[in-house]
Amino acid sequence: MADESLVRLRGVAKDYKRGAETVHVLHALDLDIPKGDFLALMGPSGSGKSTLLNLIGGIDRPTAGSIEIAGIRTDAMSDGDLGRWRANHVGFVFQMYNLLPVLTAERNVELPLLLTKLPAAERRKRANAALGLVGLSERAQHKPRELSGGQEQRVGIARAIVSDPTLLLCDEPTGDLDRKSGDEILDLLQALNQQQGKTIIMVTHDPHAAARAKHVLHLNKGQLGREAAA
């Protein structure tokens, strides 16, 4: 991949304890992802795709190896520092959207901004701008249960981009959607990558979704397979 990596993994391994047994999920991975990339991570269930995404996003820690994002070693950070780093640099998009049911779309999108020093009016303004970007301005005051699955995922994406993060990490973003809604979400991600320059890493089972990425990486039994341009 390119020389100037936004994401740089060296010798990253991840083991889990399952009772007395140690499960080796990832084996000494080396990976570089350049800024502005749209990378799809594919592979069978249990291959370690989500684990790799979690390690890059700083919500899990490697058993060995180093993770460097935009020149910062995240694997050596304290929990508190890692939390602050995530708030500033990572936007997560989840398969099940993970919206808070008691909050309106606007308040859900505003959540990451509560971690900034922005005044309330500015937070609302930015939340509405993000909702506008995903085409949901008119649904700002609706609660998640009043939205379709595709609309919920758009709110999830608005929440992920509202704080203008360095990285957008999507874990099966279309996995719970029908084909039409899924396509709309993929259109949106593609536009964010191409027009806003967002670096996106997307875990998916779906070759149709992976085809929208610039690159596809295959993981099998914790090891990276062939890399392909989509």
Binding site: T51, I59, D60, A87, F94, M96, L100, L111, L114
Partner: protein, 397 residues
């Protein structure tokens, strides 16, 4: 704490609270548990408070009680008629047109059936001197008339007439070997005297073969500050072997045993019930945390720290404690405050009528206990919520 942290805490806490309707059943169980504990705690302690209140309002700093040296109460005391005359001659005793305001008194315990159970209980029958009413500043007849000196007539305290059978004006009582007629009911602002039956001391001496002896002597002093001079005067008189208490100190001493007993038992019951309430609160908060595992993990993935998560769970538990505490306060106040009952005064082995007294201090005590129960109930679940790995939480449905 920065504004930013407060904003985070406020945002997560408000979400938790708004989510509570989804856990209404378990929240209500915990709330009722805490309310029940607070009700019992305040209820039991209001007995001690009522008992203390009766004995406190009964005592005056300006009235001295004289007992035989070595006696701690009237039951164990004895004074001769000669001694009572010497005491009445004290320069510190207040005088009016009828002479010194004193009352040599005799104290006998008699059996009268309780209205509530029909079983016999000890009631004090007090023989008093003609000036006795002036020694109780709030004494007044509320029904009938006072007893006639020299006759087998009695008047009954209002509290006693409410708690015991057959103590109504015009009724006859068989006490000792004589029949007594009840001529009136009196009150004395709820003091200990209201638990007693009164008669003429000289008639009581005859009825109970006490000769001319008395058991105590009440003396109204010229002022409260004359108490020490009164004590000094009497204790240096070689004809007397007596002990002087201020009436207030005497009743304070008497209330100690029961107040301590009731407070200890009440607190023990409240602690035991509190353990049960803590489990209810723990269960509620564990289920609250469990039902929100994915939400909490999502917030933490977005960068929210552990402190706001812990604080928000604790805040919800404290809110349950607060509401439970307030419900307990209201219920205990409505149910107990002013309810009259009688109990054994261990200092005199006779029944004392009192009203459950729910004081503001007791209400605050109940509320603090409720908040402690809520805090303990929320602490472990909040720590669990904060410590659960984010990746585990995100997998929860």
């Amino acid at each position: 704490m920065s504004n930013n942290s407060l904003t985070q805490i406020g945002a997560i806490t408000s979400m938790n609270v708004r989510n509570m309707s989804q856990r209404a059943a378990s929240s209500i169980v915990a709330l009722i548990g805490i309310a029940g504990v607070v009700t019992v705690l305040i209820g039991v302690l209001s007995i001690a408070e009522g008992f203390r209140a009766v004995l406190e309002i009964s005592g005056s700093d300006q009235v001295a009680i004289v007992l035989r040296n070595g006696a701690t109460d009237e039951m164990g005391s004895g004074l001769t008629q000669e001694q009572t005359r010497i005491i009445a001659d004290s320069k510190q005793a207040l005088r009016d047109e009828q002479g010194p305001v004193v009352s040599p008194e005799l104290y006998v315990v008699v059996d009268v059936p309780l209205k509530s159970t029909g079983t016999a209980a000890n009631v004090p029958l007090r023989g008093v001197g003609p000036q006795a009413m002036k020694l109780r500043s709030h004494f007044k007849m509320v029904e009938g008339t006072n007893f006639t000196p020299g006759k087998f007539e009695v008047v009954v305290g209002k509290g006693a007439s409410m708690q015991f059978s057959g103590l109504t004006v015009g009724s006859q009582l068989r006490l000792g070997n004589a029949n007594w007629t009840i001529t009136g009911i009196f009150e004395d602002r709820g003091s200990v005297a209201e638990s007693e039956i009164w008669t003429d001391a000289t008639v009581l001496q005859g009825a109970y073969n006490r000769g001319t002896s008395y058991q105590s002597m009440r003396v109204k002093l010229t002022s409260a500050s004359a108490m020490q001079a009164f004590k000094d005067e009497l204790s240096t008189d070689p004809r007397l072997n007596i002990r002087v208490f201020s009436e207030k100190a005497y009743y304070a001493e008497q209330s100690k045993i029961l107040v301590t007993l009731v407070s200890t038992i009440g607190s023990a019951i409240a602690i035991l019930m509190g353990l049960g309430a803590i489990f209810a609160a723990l269960n509620t908060m564990y289920s609250a945390v469990s039902s929100r595992t994915r939400e909490i993990a999502t917030l933490r993935a977005l960068g929210f720290g552990s402190a706001p998560v812990i604080t928000s769970v604790l805040a919800e538990a404290l809110l349950i404690g607060l509401v439970g505490g307030v419900v307990g306060m209201v219920v205990s106040y409505v149910a107990f405050n002013g309810v009259r009952a009688s109990t054994m005064n261990f200092a005199t082995f006779s029944q004392l009528t009192f009203a459950f007294t729910v004081t503001p201090a007791l209400l605050v005590q109940g509320l603090i206990y409720a908040l402690i129960l809520g805090f303990i109930g929320g602490l472990l679940p909040s720590l669990r919520a904060a410590k659960l790995p984010i990746t585990t939480g995100l997998r929860e449905l």
